[in-house]
């Protein structure tokens, strides 16, 4: 059996990081947030700023949901959004570009250019559409998120494909996809464990940090159907349970949407990273 240095996952030197997920058009975002944080969600730059100054996020992950609009073509607008966020926060940025192949190229190039010099993390490369995002990342020296559907071999394959485009290994973050708690999370949990295990055993193709986000969490039935008085708290626990478990499995960045979850995660990470009372 390989002797995993499991305890090194949590050290004060390199603790797991928490990303706050925000978006530039809340029409495509879970209603729960609009109901509970109406002031913030209207202004993306203000939202990012709060994430940094008040909620304690380590990174900001912006979903350019405005590109989901039918026949989207306002590419210069993307630059404006990214500039606004960059002026609102000093935190590292993750930019999630479009999710339709027809506009990928234009969206990613604009993202890449707008964040030139910022060393952004661009998302998301997938097995059947990774060229545009990789091209933008290479051109402007950004990193990319490589997403594969809950399978260690597919994760490995995508990393190899990205490497072939010229992406350096230190610019790839693995996203093996995280299902929400109760909706396949256990598959994701084990996949993260397997990827991390393989890397520690010496598999270079999987030796990249892992990012985990369970985007469906706020919309699961348990949250939707909770009575109003416990709905928000249920959402927090669903996010917290999923994110904490992902980082225990070996994720380096966990992404959440609720400020309260960030707080819980921060406390947990400090507690997980505290030096042991005794050396085991």
């Amino acid at each position: 059996m390989v002797d995993l240095p499991i305890f090194l996952f949590f050290s004060e030197k390199n603790p797991p990081r928490i990303a706050l997920e925000i978006c530039d058009d809340i029409a495509f975002w879970p209603g729960l947030l609009k109901d509970n944080l109406p002031d913030i969600t209207a202004d993306v730059s203000e939202w990012a700023k709060k994430g940094e100054m008040e909620w304690g996020a380590d990174l900001i992950r912006v979903y350019l949901t405005s590109t989901k609009k039918k026949h989207f073509s306002d590419f210069p607008g993307i630059k404006k959004v990214i500039d606004e966020i960059l002026s609102g926060t000093t935190l590292p940025l993750i930019i999630e570009g479009s999710d339709s192949p027809e506009i990928d190229s234009d969206v990613f190039l604009n993202c890449g250019e707008a964040g030139s010099g910022e060393r952004l993390l661009l998302g998301t490369a997938e097995a059947d559409r990774y060229r545009s995002v990789a091209a933008a990342a290479i051109a402007y020296n950004h990193a990319v998120i490589a997403q594969s559907p809950i399978d260690i071999n597919l994760a490995k394959q995508l990393n190899i494909l990205l490497r072939e485009t010229g992406m350096p290994d230190n610019s790839i973050i693995i996203d093996s996809y995280t299902g929400a708690l109760g909706y396949g999370f256990e598959y994701s949990y084990s996949t993260i464990e397997r990827i991390r295990y393989a890397a520690l055993k010496g598999d270079d193709d999987l030796a990249m940090p892992i990012i985990s986000s369970a985007p469906d969490t706020l919309g699961v039935r348990e949250v939707r159907e909770s009575p109003p008085e416990t709905k928000y708290e249920t959402a927090i626990q669903w996010e917290f349970g999923t994110a904490l478990s992902s980082l225990v499995a070996g994720a380096s960045i966990v992404c959440v949407r609720l400020p309260e979850t960030i707080k819980l995660l921060k406390t947990a990470i400090i507690d997980l990273s505290s030096p042991s009372v005794e050396d085991i």
């Binding site: 949590f10 949990y189 084990s190 348990e222 349970g241």
Partner: protein
Amino acid sequence: MALKALDIYKLLPKKNCKECGDPTCLTFAMKLASGKADPDKCPYLDPQAKEVLGSSTKPPVKPMRIGVGERSFRIGEESCLYRHEKTFYHAPGFFLALKDSSGESQISTIANRVEKDLLVRAGQDLRLNGVAIISDSKNPETFGSVVKKVEELVSLPEILISNDPKIVEAGLTYCGSYHPVIHAATRENYPEMCRLALKFGCRLIISEGDITKIPELVNECVKIGVPDLILDPCVDNLSDCLKKFTVIRKKAVTREDASLGYPLYLDTGRFKDRSGSLYLGILKYASLIVIHDLPEPVEKAALTLRQGIYTDPQRPIQMEPGLYKIGEPGKDSPVFMTVNFSLTFFTLQGYLESSGVSCYMLIVDTEGLSVLTAVAAGKLTDTLVNETLKKADLANIVSHHTLIIPGYAAPISGKLEDETGWKILVGPRDAAEVGTFLESLQSGETK
């Protein structure tokens, strides 16, 4: 090192007497090899062979039953550190804490909550498991009377918590015949606690914060004759919990130290964080978890996490095949066909529900395989779909005779149309797109 089945077979009497409960010595040997049987079951095994087998074939974490009757449950028997290596067998028991200084109404609230709380997910009943009664008053009579009160109210597994044998004994007077768990034997009190555990047939928790000293204490208790031990390494922060539990479980499953091969006990009341320690305990090897404060959202999340982590990775949870309703569908509502893999089911159900369109889901039995795998393995066939369609009497439930199938099932669409005579629409591959698909369907874009 673990022995192979054939090596074990050589050590057995080869009489095929069936007294162990297995039909042949070889099948018994195979069970021994996988840690699924106890060598003691063979009455003819010579002592030397027994010794060889005992240390290498018993499950590395000792199996035991907690409580009696309907709500009793098993713990231990685990054999790996990561669930993908095989599976985790027995989910941890959740025990709500109850101080003996609580008032009558609080006692009944807690006891009844453990008895009644129920979350049904994917066809399984998820429940809290027992009550942990804590001696807060330090008074044997008070403790005894609270145990008595709980016994009158419910019949649930119990943990009796006190380091004073006199107090524990006062409780055992009322519940001793139901095999409760005792917390805890320490370096100071273990002879007395062992005596109680033997007298009443209890599981005994050993409480010792220095894990290098646990083996010694375990061996002392085993020497006295207490077979069923549980270990409490007294952790009070997440870092310590992760480290100590992992080290203990690792030494157990690699058989590096047999005296650590016992289930683990976690008291979340010692932690700053009420829910984080609970979630970590579920992920990392706890078998009995005491919970002091359990808001409903945390309870739901913990029960759900426990169900997932303790699902056998090779045998995914399956849904009952048949017809399911989303909203209030009528004669004109669309019908979505998909497989009975629970993850597929829940994902599609979630997206259909949030689309706000009433419709039917027709679930076919692919033995828990996902759409992609089922198509590749030939488990999702036109005949299977047609049978399910007929069995659900769908032709009389909807008037349109149109079936929407998952994008990944497109390869069978032609055959399916021939077999069923229904019009087959190929839906999106990703359930997340189903809302958009429904929109285009309604606006007539999809023909």
